[in-house]
């Protein structure tokens, strides 16, 4: 059972729901409007479609429905990463990692966190 691939707009909405947790259309729309120009019914329609696709769940017990992401953030991340590594990074996860590290300010703490993670991976692979 493979997850329907979210479109660009759908990803934005998923991102908001992952961050905020279950939310109304209004709340999602408000958040969305901070960075994007769009009518309320546009957001509504999108979320309804996502519900039909199985990307969202919803609680319709009260008049104002409450939506939540039906797909996990990490599974979605993995799906997109795989695709990206494959098409844009010539299959090399290492390349992706270095590119990502190179152009984003990372604190020393974060770098340490990554080092620790590297060690664990090495341990497990033995």
């Amino acid at each position: 059972m493979k997850q329907h691939k979210p479109t660009e707009s759908e990803l934005e909405i998923l991102g908001i729901l992952w961050e905020r947790g279950a939310s109304t259309v209004r709340e999602v729309h408000e958040k969305l409007a901070e960075t994007k120009e769009a009518g309320y019914t546009t957001t509504l329609k999108l979320m309804q479609i996502m519900y039909e696709k199985g990307l969202l769940t919803r609680d319709a017990s009260s008049k104002t429905h409450i939506y939540a992401a039906a797909v996990s953030q990490s599974a979605t991340q993995q799906q997109l990463l795989n695709k990206m590594i494959d098409t844009v990074f010539g299959g090399s996860a290492t390349q992706l990692v270095m590119q990502a590290l190179g152009h984003h300010k990372s604190s020393d703490e974060e770098l340490d966190q990554i080092r620790k993670y590297l060690s664990e991976i090495e341990k497990q692979q033995r």
Copy 2:
């Protein structure tokens, strides 16, 4: 001067051109056909559109035109990474890096390579 965002199909073609270097439509199509079902004119049309968008250059001096990527692989990688970090990883490049490392087999050499890279970053930030 921001680069037009490549679509899914366009990325596949760019990927091939980055790997092979300048190529004819026929060559790209052949490569594409290994993984995908598509008619020749479909590939042709796509590449023509990409040329118009400025994603490809072409040498039309001989009858069989020769296309090349007009956008660099690393710039495109960065563009897509940024977007992805923003929408899917809640803004954290570190999260992306760890997710990428966790689910892809990496050789010890690659892990070392990443460690070396981490040190360099730390040096530079001082």
